[in-house]
C-alpha cells in the first residue's frame, strides 16, 4: 500500500512537471499572447511596449526559470484581469464545481445503474429497444445544447427553475442534469453490456444450481460487473473535475472551475491559467489515487497483483 502511494506521488510530480512545461511551451514558445491580446492593427511600437510590460522581451531561459520558480513556490501571482491572487480564485471556484459534479454523478449512478440492470435482464423486446434508443440519445446530445434546451423549457417557458447563476438548490438542478446526460448514457451502456456478459458466466450457473434467489444471483453478477462500471463512472467523474464542466458552467453562468478555465484562457490571463492547470492536475492525481484504492477494494485479485 505504501509502495503504491509512493509510486503514485512520484507519478503525480512527474506529471505536474511535464504539465507546467507544456503550459510554458504553449504560452511562451509557440504562443503569442502579446500579439493576440492586441488589436490586429497595432503598431510595432505598441507591440514592443506590451511585450515589455508582460516580460516577454526577456531571453526565453530567463522567462522559464522565473516561471518554474514561481510555480514551484505555488506563487502564481495575481490574475491579470481581476488583479486578485490567482490561487484564491481557484480555491473559491473548485467547491462549486464539486457540488455540480457530485449532484450530476449522483444522478448518473442513481438512474444509470438500475436502468442498465433492467436492460441487461429484460426479456421484453420493446423494453430493450426503448432503452437502447434512450441510451443512444443520451450519448449523442451535446451537454451544452441540452443545457440551453432545459433553460428554454424549464426556466423560460415553465418558470420552474432559475436560468443561471448560483443560489439555492433550484440553481443546481438544471446544470447537473445537463452535466449528467453523457455519463448517464455511458453508465447505462457499460452496466448493460458487462452485466449481460457476467450473467452468462459459469459461476452464475453454480449460484443458480444452489437454488439461490434471482436477486442473489443478480448480486453475484453485479459484484463482477462492478469493476467495469466503476471504471467508466470514475473516468467520467475525473473528466468532469478536470474542467470538462466548462460548457455547462458557461451555459448556466455557474462560477465554477470550468468557467474559470474558459475565462482565464480566453483572457490570455497567464497567472490564472497556470494556477488553474496546476490545481486541476492536483485534483486529477488525487482522484486517480482514490480510484486505485477503490479498485483494490472491488477486486481482491488486483491487490495481489494478479490482474
Amino acid at each position: 500500500m505504501l509502495q503504491v502511494f509512493v509510486k503514485r506521488t512520484f507519478r503525480g510530480l512527474v506529471l505536474a512537471f511535464v504539465a507546467v512545461n507544456l503550459v510554458f511551451f504553449v504560452v511562451h514558445v509557440i504562443g503569442d499572447p502579446v500579439g493576440r491580446s492586441l488589436p490586429l492593427d497595432a503598431t510595432p511600437e505598441q507591440y514592443a511596449a506590451r511585450a515589455e510590460s508582460l516580460g516577454f522581451d526577456r531571453p526565453l531561459w530567463e522567462q522559464y526559470t522565473d516561471y518554474v520558480g514561481d510555480v514551484a513556490r505555488l506563487d502564481f501571482g495575481d490574475s491579470i484581469s481581476t488583479q486578485a491572487p490567482a490561487m484564491g480564485s481557484v480555491l473559491t471556484r473548485f467547491p462549486r464545481t464539486f457540488l455540480l459534479v457530485g449532484v450530476g454523478m449522483g444522478l448518473t449512478a442513481l438512474i444509470g445503474i438500475p436502468t442498465g440492470v433492467i436492460l441487461a435482464t429484460t426479456k421484453r423486446r420493446w423494453v430493450d429497444r426503448l432503452g437502447n434508443s434512450l441510451t443512444l440519445t443520451a450519448l449523442s446530445v451535446p451537454q451544452f445544447w441540452l443545457g440551453i434546451l432545459l433553460i428554454l423549457v424549464f426556466s423560460l417557458k415553465l418558470g420552474w427553475f432559475p436560468t443561471s447563476g448560483i443560489g439555492g438548490w433550484k440553481h443546481v438542478v438544471l446544470p447537473s442534469i445537463a452535466l449528467a446526460i453523457g455519463p448517464l448514457g455511458k453508465t447505462i451502456q457499460i452496466t448493460q453490456v458487462t452485466l449481460r456478459d457476467e450473467l452468462q458466466k459459469p459461476y452464475i450457473r453454480t449460484a443458480r444450481a444452489k437454488g439461490l434467489s434471482e436477486g442473489r444471483v443478480l448480486y453475484h453478477a453485479l459484484r463482477n460487473a462492478g469493476v467495469a462500471v466503476a471504471t467508466v463512472f470514475s473516468h467520467e467523474t475525473i473528466l468532469a473535475l478536470a474542467g470538462y464542466t466548462v460548457l455547462v458552467e458557461t451555459v448556466f453562468a455557474w462560477p465554477g472551475i470550468g468557467s474559470l478555465i474558459a475565462e482565464a484562457i480566453s483572457n490570455l490571463d497567464i497567472p490564472l491559467t497556470s494556477a488553474v492547470v496546476v490545481a486541476v492536475l492536483l485534483v486529477v492525481v488525487v482522484a486517480n489515487s482514490l480510484v486505485d484504492i477503490m479498485y483494490r477494494r472491488l477486486d481482491p485479485r488486483i491487490a495481489r497483483g494478479l490482474k
Partner: protein
C-alpha cells in the same frame, strides 16, 4: 418401460424418461438430446459417459432447469414418484434436493466473493439462518469436505486456493443445500491424477456417510466407472447402452462402448490401445439413423441409416444397435 437393474432395496429417486432438448440457435434448431432416459435410486451412484458434445451435460442441466432460455425441454420427469409438471417445480428441486457440481472450479466460483460466503449463502437460502449462524454452518461444511483450516479457508478468494481445494469448496456449496442427489458434471476434469482420486474418494465417502445419490457425468470412463452402480453411455444425444457397470465393463455390446473402453489405457478388456477414429457428430448435424454409424467399424450399411431398435436384455441392460438385431435375430 424397461428399466435397468438396480438394488431392490432402494426406492426410485429421480426418473427421467424420453428427455429431448432442442436449442434455437438463430432460427436453426439443434436437437442436442434426443430421448435420453435415466433412473437414479436413493443412495445409488450412476455414471453418464461419452465424448464432449454428446449431450450428457445438457441432459443433466435440463433435469435441474439450468439451460439457457433458447433451450426447449420435453420429456417426463418424476421425483420420488411425483410428476414434475412445470419449470417452476423443477427450479424448486434445484439446490434444495438436487445439488450440482461443475467442471473448472476457477470460473465456476465467483472470483470476487469469499468462498465461505459462497457456501454460506446456500445455507441461508435453504434454512433461513442469519449471517452468523450461516458462517458457522459454512465452516462446518468446509470441514466436511476435508479442507484443512476451514476457518481460514472461509475468508479466502477462489484464486487463492488450489484447483482441488476449489473443487472441494464447490462440493461444500452443493452439500450446504443438504441435497439427496448430487450431480457431478466433469467434477474432476482438469485436475491432476492425485487430486482427481482425492475428489472421487471424497464424493464416494460422502455418498456412503450421507446416503447421497450421485450422478457422475464424465468423458473419462476410467475415472468414474468403478464408483458407479449403473452406467449410461451417451452418444449423439442418445443413450446407446445402459446397464449395470460390471456387466458393461465385462461385456460391452454397443460398438461405441467397446471403442470407448478400448481407448482406455490399462483396461484389460482389449489388448491394444486404440483411439476412436473420426470425430463425434455435432448437435446440429446428427446423422439420421444411428449417430455412431459413420465411425463404426461394424457398420452394416443401409440399415444403419435407420434409427436402431432398442434391445432390452434379461438383466435390464439396454442397447441401441442394429447388430443386436443381427445377433439375436429379432
Amino acid at each position: 418401460m424397461n428399466q435397468p437393474h438396480r438394488n431392490a432395496s432402494s426406492a426410485p429417486l429421480l426418473q427421467a424418461s424420453d428427455i429431448h432438448v432442442r436449442f434455437d440457435v438463430e432460427g436453426e434448431i439443434h436437437h442436442a438430446v434426443r430421448g435420453v432416459s435415466i433412473d437414479v435410486a436413493e443412495g445409488q451412484t450412476v455414471g453418464l459417459v461419452g465424448e464432449s458434445g454428446c449431450g450428457k451435460t445438457v441432459s443433466m442441466l435440463a433435469l435441474v432447469g439450468l439451460l439457457a432460455s433458447n433451450a426447449e425441454v420435453s420429456g417426463r420427469i418424476t421425483y420420488r414418484g411425483n410428476l414434475i409438471k412445470s419449470h417452476a417445480e423443477l427450479v424448486a428441486l434445484r439446490g434444495s434436493t438436487i445439488g450440482m457440481v461443475f467442471q473448472d472450479s476457477m470460473s465456476s466460483l465467483n472470483p470476487l466473493l469469499k468462498v465461505g460466503v459462497q457456501v454460506g449463502e446456500a445455507v441461508r437460502r435453504h434454512r433461513g439462518l442469519d449471517r452468523k449462524a450461516a458462517k458457522r454452518e459454512a465452516i462446518r461444511y468446509l470441514e466436511q469436505v476435508s479442507l484443512p483450516e476451514p476457518d481460514h479457508v472461509y475468508h479466502a478468494y477462489p484464486h487463492e486456493l488450489s484447483g482441488g481445494e476449489r473443487q472441494r469448496v464447490m462440493i461444500a456449496g452443493a452439500l450446504a443445500c443438504e441435497p439427496e442427489l448430487l450431480i457431478a458434471d466433469e467434477a474432476t476434469t482438469g485436475l491432476d491424477v492425485t487430486t482427481q482420486a482425492e475428489i472421487l474418494d471424497l464424493l464416494s465417502s460422502l455418498r456412503d456417510s450421507r446416503g447421497l445419490a450421485v450422478v457422475f457425468v464424465s468423458h473419462d470412463v476410467g475415472a468414474v466407472a468403478e464408483l458407479c452402480d449403473d452406467l449410461y453411455v451417451i452418444y449423439g444425444g442418445r443413450s446407446v447402452e445402459a446397464g449395470r457397470t460390471s456387466e458393461i465393463l465385462n461385456e460391452p455390446r454397443h460398438p461405441y462402448t467397446r471403442a470407448l473402453l478400448d481407448a482406455l489405457p490399462g483396461m484389460e478388456v482389449r489388448d491394444r490401445l486404440t483411439g476412436i477414429p473420426g470425430l463425434p457428430p455435432l448437435p446440429h448435424a446428427f446423422p439420421p439413423g444411428c449417430a455412431f454409424a459413420p465411425r463404426c467399424a461394424q457398420a452394416m450399411g443401409e440399415q444403419c441409416n435407420e434409427p436402431p431398435p432398442l434391445f432390452t436384455m434379461k438383466s435390464g441392460r439396454r442397447v441401441e444397435c442394429w447388430l443386436e438385431g443381427a445377433v439375436t435375430g429379432d
